[in-house]
């Protein structure tokens, strides 16, 4: 992105993340990157490739293999006036940093009576679908979305991969960005001049009348594919991308359900205690009398994510299972 051509630019999700990181480093001297292999190796998912060379070792820092340590260091740096961007390789390993995130980053503003804040951004990969087995495939967004004091976002499209980082850096409190690992290779077009995005609103990615498919992160694309199949069968599906998992944008969710009167929540997390459960509960609380069918959900089977491809595919939400759930709620028109 050294030259800005007139038309839109074709790039991958990974390149959109990298462009956002580069822009952040260039725009604000308080910003620095920290994490395992983010420097010399260029990041496990190559999101930070080339940035060490461009911005130097003070701003792009490789850390020891200790999520607890570097997350704590990041919180300290944020308290000290910096704007650290941490990369935790995957959400699976972030469990080692849970204490720092939940007990320190999320609480300090409240426990200090507003005297301090923790303007920290943590990026981490999440999700399954790449045959890397259970310990690298969890989707634990719901755990973090449970915690008051942090904001949790899930960029599902290139525009958000490009734009959410800047918005997160503007937030005076901790923001967790979940990048679904299966999305890094997805290609798309972005405007040459990036648009500003917010971290407050869900987005309607496809408009429809008969059923709302409510998804986030890695399942938004599957919901859009399902909507395409449903359209071929005479069912008009609306696809809602939650974008921000905490706080949830009730207005957009409920607004969509008021229009379609039916909803399928799609969630790569496990069913029990899932974000899908929270979304369903809010629909019940706020739109019960608008429902023409019980709210359905498509979640990951409650097993550690299997390694063999056919089993992994079977365990995860897929366009076909989303279509089946939608068809159980709505009869085709005509």
């Amino acid at each position: 992105m050294t030259v800005a051509p007139a038309g839109p630019i074709r790039m991958t999700y990974r390149e959109a993340v990298r462009a956002a990181l580069r822009e952040a480093l260039a725009a604000d001297p308080r910003v620095f990157l920290m994490g395992e292999d983010v420097g010399r190796y260029g990041g496990t998912y190559a999101a930070t490739k080339g940035l060490l060379e461009e911005f130097g070792p003070e701003r792009v820092r490789d850390t020891p293999l200790s999520e607890l340590t570097f997350t704590g260091a990041g919180i300290g740096a944020a308290l000290g006036g910096m704007r650290p961007i941490l990369e935790i390789m995957t959400v699976n390993f972030s469990l080692l940093a849970l204490d720092q995130i939940v007990n320190n980053a999320a609480t300090l503003r409240h426990m200090s009576g507003g005297q301090v804040s923790v303007p920290l951004v943590i990026r981490m990969a999440t999700g399954a679908g790449r045959q890397v087995a259970a310990q690298h495939s969890h989707s634990l967004e719901a755990w973090y979305a449970h915690i008051p004091g942090i904001r949790v976002v899930a960029p599902a499209v290139l525009e958000d991969a490009r734009g959410m980082l800047a918005a997160a850096l503007r937030d005076p409190d901790p923001v967790l960005i979940f990048e679904h690992a299966a999305l890094y290779g997805v290609e798309g077009e972005l405007p040459a001049v990036p648009r500003q995005v917010d971290l407050d609103r869900a987005a309607v990615r496809r408009s429809g009348d008969d059923v709302s498919l409510i998804a986030y992160g890695g399942t938004v694309g599957k919901a859009l594919a399902a909507a395409e199949q449903l359209a071929a069968g005479g069912i008009s599906a609306e696809v809602v991308d939650l974008r921000t998992l905490r706080p949830l944008d009730d207005a957009t969710i409920v607004g969509s359900v008021r229009k379609t009167h039916r909803a399928v929540v799609v969630d790569e997390g496990w069913r029990s205690g899932s974000l899908a459960a929270e979304v369903m509960a809010r629909i019940m609380e706020q739109a019960f009398y608008e429902l023409d069918a019980p709210v359905a959900r498509v979640c990951t089977a409650e097993v550690p994510i299997p390694y063999p491809k056919h089993l992994e595919d079977a365990a995860l939400p897929q366009p076909e299972t989303i279509v089946a759930a939608a068809r159980s709620l709505v009869k085709p028109r005509g």
Partner: protein, 379 residues
Amino acid sequence: MPSLGADMVSGTLVEWRVKAGDAVKRGQIIAEVETDKGAIEVEIFEDGVVDALLVAPGTKVPVGTPLATLRGAAAMPPSPAAPPTAAVPPSGPAGGEVGRGRQVRVSPLARKRAAELGIDPSTLRGTGAGGAVTMADVEAAPVPARAPAPPPPPVEADRSAAMRRAIAAAMSRSKREIPHYYLATDVDVSRLVAWLERRNAAVPVAQRMLPAAPLFKAVALGLKEVPELNGTFLDGAFHPSAAVHLGVAISLRQGGLVAPAIHDADKLGLDELMNALRDLIGRVRGGSIRSSELADPTVTVTNLGDQGVREVFGVIFPPQVAIVGLGRITQRPWVAEGRIEARPVVSATLSADHRVSDGHRGGRFLSAFERLLQEPEKL
């Protein structure tokens, strides 16, 4: 919907004899139900006030389905003078009063829209998941000021075919599951016949007693002596019955038969027994049996004497464990005290469940039956 027999799975509500708000007493007939065995009057099981009728006439529902709700006697209106119609709108067949209590799935949206349009959603056929009434079903419905009552579906037209099926099911089950054994004996009933002739000569024709009454009484008393023949075999175990509810096989003019009970037959006097038998036969052939009569016979007696049959070996009606067969009383050569005489004789048989009793005990019953008939005045 009460179970009116061990093999009954469903019944059709034909007619309500009460309406919401009516006070009812235990044993009162509140409805008529059509089963495979015929039309049966359903008795209420406790005192109270009918709160709501839940099933519309013409509706076929499974056994166990609540037909109506009852408020306890404590909730009865304090003043019987209060006009019930003031509180309860008159309910036609399948009117709003009936429809309101039906368990119908209606989506929240459909229910809200139906209320706006003044449609009773319980009258609609649901096309949603699980048969739920959806918004589309409501919007497709006509919008009258009042929702029309659905026409009651016709009661099963071929009642005798249904009864044939019921008999087939019960008898097949019996022969499949019950190891029958069969005993027979001939009983000299000359004393009984003489006693009946004397008794009947003294009363008007309408009060004459048929031999069936003392014969049935002797069966009932004989069963008290051999309790293994009186009761039910259910869930792999025999459950003896303290009371003798004597099921009487009664053939119907249109074919088929039912075997309703004469309750506590062992405790009835002969005149009471005769009256009960007359009443039962009249009502069975007139098509009105009570639910309690069909539900609980503990043993059955079949009497084919009218047809000139000499002896009948019956098939046990499950879950009962015995059936007593009686033939025609005929004059037969009989050896008494070394001489051959013409005596009125009846052949009595016993078909019994070998899982519960053995031939030795069955023989005890037949010999008790014979002994009891030798002293008809004591019956």
